[in-house]
């Protein structure tokens, strides 16, 4: 068995949720690493787009920003926010979108705006950016994040980006473009996915060394727990080598999970 860190496995597992030929909207950091890993392993034809405008760039290591020249390198089109957020995402042709957030609740709603009163918040976060647009319109949502109790409350203090809001049918009822997108959270403890029947998260996989109890202890809401939960497959040698040598050669992100 190879040596690998759980940080590495979150990115490797994340990449497995991306299929070849899909369009993928990702910012920098782990989402970008995950996307690039998928592209360099099993999804060579995926179309990576970045909100500032680059479409299908040949990314150079390692971008620190969506405005980074490393993300613009050899794109087939250097376009605009309107083209990416409007003419792809809202248009309904974005297969996968990555988001993160300070709070993610049991329905997959995300808070990246404030804790406390909106007009005089206790803590101010960056705001939506494109996250609300991704949650509203992408066909599938991926979230790679730390597993901390306060990050997973029963209910977000503020909904920046709508998951299933308060139930399985809510997205459809209020008119969102993507009706029932799979939403998947990947952490060092395990994988949680929205149960389409309830609109709530359920545990779907355990990371090595984790357990349902560990997840429940570190999760503020109570995820659904199915009878059978499989374990996340360990990295292949190929996945690990590509991640370490090609995707994040300078270790700018992998230490940070």
């Amino acid at each position: 068995m190879m040596d690998f860190s759980l940080e590495e496995l979150t990115v490797i597992e994340g990449s497995r949720y991306i299929a070849d030929y899909q369009s993928v909207f990702a910012g920098t950091g782990l989402p970008l690493l995950t996307t690039l890993l998928a592209q360099k392993t099993h999804a060579p034809h995926l179309c990576f787009v970045c909100e500032t405008g680059p479409i299908s760039p040949i990314v150079l290591p390692t971008p620190l920003s969506v405005s980074d020249p490393r993300l613009q390198h050899r794109a087939v089109r250097l376009g605009s926010l309107k083209e990416v957020l409007g003419c792809m995402l809202q248009r309904g042709i974005m297969d996968v979108g990555f988001v993160g957030g300070a709070e993610i609740d049991q329905y997959g709603n995300i808070n990246s705006t404030v804790i406390g009163n909106y007009r005089r918040p206790k803590v101010r976060f960056p705001g939506s950016g494109g996250a609300n647009d991704i949650l509203s319109h992408a066909k599938r949502i991926l979230i790679i994040t730390k597993h901390e109790k306060q990050r997973f409350p029963e209910k977000c203090h503020y909904i920046t980006s709508p998951g299933y809001i308060s139930g399985a049918d809510e997205r459809e009822r209020i008119g969102l473009t993507s009706k029932r997108p799979p939403i998947t959270i990947i952490t060092r403890l395990g994988i949680m996915e929205i149960n389409p029947a309830t609109g709530r998260f359920r545990i779907s996989k355990l990371m090595p060394g984790s357990s349902v109890d560990k997840i429940l202890a570190e999760t503020g809401f109570r995820p659904e727990v199915p009878d059978y939960i499989e374990e996340v497959a360990p990295p292949t040698e190929f996945e690990l080598r590509v991640l370490r040598e090609e995707v994040d050669p300078h270790k700018l992100y992998m230490k940070k999970v």
């Binding site: 605009s80 309107k82 976060f125 950016g129």
Partner: protein
């Protein structure tokens, strides 16, 4: 809209800010994160201490944070204040938490939609974003009608949000090339800059280099912004520093980190930053010398060249 003056619009950043950025202005900022922010013009606004500004845009970055840190901003309206790997926009965060500045939140697409309404001369634009979010529940104290829910007349039960046109008093963007008429060429990502400019009442374009109108006319498909939207052209090499300009130079991660350290600390540290680099600089060339001069700039140019 500004006159269709065909003559030269070339001026210094100082003149451009005097002419087109009054106190209380609604200012739209182009660029994003560490790319193509119009820092030379932003410095000049700080030096001239323009007050009570409202800043709008999609991603509001170090350009916005500096104006907020200098105490010149009463309100922001946009999608996010954020420097990604380099952290939060700390002055922005502090000003909101301290209650000295308002923020009105939209998603990036909602901001773009508002700019499209303005550039198209229509009062509002529909979007399917924002639905189900608290951006439709909470709003800043000084905001009027933030949005309206409308039924889709072509599909019973389908709802859309409409958001109002957003027309800045002045848009401020940095580009690679412009001619003295105001025709501007952007290289690399466009972010929201083209819509922003067409939506605005005036635009200040700073550029890496002024080129001849003949050169513009020889490759007219590359002109992103035709001259009738532009009021002032400011030639300022490295005018986006410490953010980058595609094909010209990389962003200066060291200086962004230094700025962020001061912004995070706030207080004395931040005032020192403003004084050292902006208030006590005669102009942007003076600033460029202070942050490393030709040697530093050449290293950023070299970084970029290895990526082309």
């Amino acid at each position: 809209m500004q006159e269709m003056q065909n003559g030269s619009k070339l001026m210094t950043a100082s003149e451009a800010v005097k002419k087109f950025v009054p106190d209380g202005a609604l200012v739209g900022l182009g660029g994003q994160n560490v790319g193509r922010c119009a820092m030379a013009v932003v410095h000049e606004i700080v030096r001239q201490q323009k007050k009570n500004l409202t800043i709008c845009g999609c991603n509001l970055s170090i350009n916005m944070d500096m104006l907020v840190g200098a105490g010149l901003v009463k309100r922001c309206e946009g999608g996010t204040g954020n420097l990604e790997y380099f952290g939060a926009t700390f002055c922005f965060r502090r000003a909101i938490q301290d209650g000295v500045m308002e923020m009105e939140d939209y998603s990036h697409l909602a901001v773009i939609s508002r700019l499209i309404a303005a550039e198209m001369g229509i009062p509002f634009m529909p979007t399917k974003s924002l639905l189900g979010s608290d951006m439709l529940v909470h709003q800043a104290a000084s905001t009027g009608k933030k949005f309206e829910l409308m039924d889709n007349p072509w599909s019973v039960g389908d709802q859309v949000v409409v958001v109002p046109a957003l027309s800045p008093d002045v848009a401020i963007i940095h580009v690679q090339k412009a001619d003295e008429m105001g025709n501007a060429v952007i290289e690399g990502f466009l972010a929201h800059d083209v819509e922003l400019v067409r939506a605005a009442k005036h635009t200040i374009v700073s550029c890496e280099e002024v080129v001849s109108t003949d050169e513009i006319r020889r490759d007219a498909e590359r002109t992103n912004i035709p001259y009738m939207y532009v009021s002032a052209v400011v030639e300022q090499p490295y005018g986006a520093h410490p953010t980058g300009a595609y094909r010209y130079y990389d962003y200066d991660a060291d200086h962004v980190t230094q700025y962020q350290k001061c912004a995070r600390a706030g207080g004395e540290d931040y005032r020192n930053y403003l004084e050292t680099y902006i208030l006590n600089s005669t102009d942007f060339y003076d600033y460029l010398d202070k942050v490393g001069g030709i040697k530093k700039m050449m290293s950023l140019v070299k970084n970029m060249k290895t990526m082309l």
